[in-house]
Symmetry: C2
Subunit: 408 residues, 2 copies
């Protein structure tokens, strides 16, 4: 028989998003396109010890658990927030998810009806755009400068379209790596309060900040989460989403959402409908790692940040290759990506095709914007590739760019 | 701020489904309501060994994996099907999911537009109904007899409503425990071919069949999956969904969908949007258990089936209690549930309220039917409760029924 897809899923399937991934899996292929952390820093030995502990206890650890997630891990997150980031929350305001992507899907299904307006940063992550398109949202992309989303543009859209939600990633946004200033954070929160727009704060990369030890120590004071700023004033204007995928390991598939109890309860009911619950086994293993083992969470984050900064510096060196002469970029101070503006008139999709032929891929900017306005940008991942891969990959992209610029 | 939910999620949130679960978590409470396997048969020791093996290898086991799931586990499923059930499939026709509930959600989002007609068995599982309601399907419930869904009623609906999908659980349906006869399986498949209706075959309970060793040995010949019957004739009319939650352990959160490559590819893209992927770590642990350890899959299934049959027999004994004098039921030959018709005029929701006050819960039949037509039925789980719990729980339900019947 022939199958007839739902109208919105046909649109999703015709997008190019998955194509890059398939090609990347060939062994000789170099991918700077994916959203992968470095494998060599996964605490695999300690996770093995934690798993041994969990799986040598009562078999009830393997039963279905609470749909909201393993309560002690939710308490641990709440306590960690208090200690390290001065953020107040209760365990029953936390829902454990399979990662930030699932949190985005759940909150969107919970709140967005077809035709509802939703504001995103321009550019924004392809995963977020896909969810919003699938739910039939009217997506409004508002421009950023280096301090964050532009308040004047935002207010104009709030007045015009009365959006329901603002999706924002104020700390090292995917794809731009922008870190919003404190002033901008306050201004955006103020606007969202005035116009009653709920903020979905994606903090997937917020723990990955570079710089001196002193700067690291006061990072969350200098750049508090919108959630923290809001809660300080007794607000419920922000739903915060985070993940252990970039800081511990993706295969645990554990992230979380924090916010008003009404939202968390709603998301929890929707999660039961969508997949019943995430793995309570994995949540218990993670809890044992974080709470009970000799694993030192703060030191682990510091290690990641030192190493990722080294990789970023290497990438910035490689951007001195001839092909990159006309590109523009702003070195980020955290996250996993560099967002690069191509020489005038060069399309990221065209460059991708040429690059794939040479054996390298990146994320074309066209996929980070609802109207493909950012087609002249590319996103390059610097967290996963090792030194040799980064060298070769950047050389190949440099050659591919030269192939185009030479023609002009 | 006040939150305004999407219209369909408000409907979901106002349903009673989650309320029972909350109450069940009190320690003295006896729940015969949930869909839980018996913990004492989880192969926790061998899973511990498998986890040790997986977590003592290369850290790449903790990286993001393929969105379709760990390829060796997909191959294992394909091989197991061939050997034990004579079913032919290729690994690239298999998508690993977080369980059957996720498979139902994904295929529904992929195919169903608002207002599309979808046929379900009446009664059907609350989880399936929730997904269909959330997607805006026009749900048509077709009656069963003890041999399965009624072909005449089915054809009448096919002619009238031209539905896109038929959801069916031919082997020990949730909630009824009905096992469709071979003849009925063939008749329904034939009808779906004639009217081009895709069958979603939920086989969550199909491995849990009781009876003699001889009967067990030829179960899949006597009651072949609709998928098997269809593929034998070269069809692509059936999407099959299965799970390890009821046979190995729920906390692994691993199930699968098998079908036409076009559907599997579409579901895989949607899965990336919904949660990126299920845990590759858990999939690898499961693979090590099934493929590499001394764990014997067939023996394990046989053990479960012997033990569950004992529990069912105890429950049938307990149905001789005075309160159950006027109830009607058909003992199932597999699965995890007994579906009981209450004495005339007694509402399952009213009985549930009275039962919860006494400290016991079951699933009220009203939640298994789109129009609540099955309010005079209850579903009782016999797989998880131990002997004492089952005794006490059934006594309490018996008393609660008597409270009502005495008034008449």
């Amino acid at each position: 028989m022939e199958f007839s897809f739902a109208s919105r899923s046909s649109k999703l399937l015709s997008s190019h998003l998955n194509r890059v991934n398939k090609e990347q899996r060939q062994s000789s292929f170099i991918s700077l396109a994916e959203e992968l952390p470095a494998e060599e820093f996964f605490p695999i030995k300690r996770l093995g010890e934690a798993a041994r502990k969990v799986l040598s206890s009562d078999p009830s650890v393997l039963q279905y658990g609470e749909p909201e997630g393993y309560a002690p891990l939710r308490s641990w997150i709440s306590e960690d927030w208090k200690q390290r980031r001065g953020m107040q929350t209760a365990a029953d305001q936390i829902l454990l998810t399979t990662g930030t992507q699932q949190a985005i899907d759940l909150i969107t299904r919970l709140l967005v009806d077809t035709g509802d307006s939703v504001v995103v940063e321009n550019p924004t992550s392809p995963g977020c755009l896909q969810v919003l398109e699938m739910q039939g949202a009217d997506i409004i992309a508002v421009e950023n400068d280096l301090e964050g989303i532009l308040p004047d543009c935002l207010e104009a859209q709030f007045q015009r379209a009365k959006p329901k939600l603002l999706f924002a990633a104020p700390s090292f946004s995917n794809p731009t790596g922008i870190l919003w200033s404190l002033e901008r954070r306050k201004a955006v929160l103020e606007l969202c309060r005035k116009y009653e727009v709920l903020i979905i704060e994606d903090d997937s990369y917020g723990e990955l900040h570079f710089g001196t030890e002193e700067a690291a120590a006061c990072f969350s004071e200098s750049y508090p989460a919108l959630y923290a700023l809001d809660v300080m004033d007794g607000g419920n204007q922000v739903l915060y989403i985070g993940s252990f995928s970039k800081t511990i390991a993706p295969a645990l598939r554990t992230g979380w959402a924090v916010g008003d109890k009404t939202l968390i309860k709603g998301m929890s009911s929707l999660k039961q409908m969508a997949d019943w619950q995430s793995s309570p086994m994995n949540q218990q293993i993670l809890y044992h790692l974080l709470h009970e083992s000799s694993f030192r969470w703060k030191d682990h984050l510091a290690l990641l940040n030192r190493e990722y900064e080294v990789r970023l510096k290497l990438m910035l060196e490689l951007l001195k290759r001839p092909g990159f002469k006309e590109v523009k970029y702003h070195p980020p101070s955290g996250g996993m990506y560099l967002w690069i503006q191509l020489p005038n008139g060069l399309s990221s999709e065209a460059l991708l095709r040429a690059s794939i032929r040479r054996g390298v891929a990146f994320l074309p900017g066209s996929r980070c914007s609802p109207g493909k306005q950012t087609d002249e940008y590319i996103r390059i991942n610097f967290s996963r590739p090792g030194r040799e891969e980064l060298l070769l990959g950047m050389n190949l992209i440099s050659e591919a760019i030269q192939e185009f610029t030479a023609r002009r």
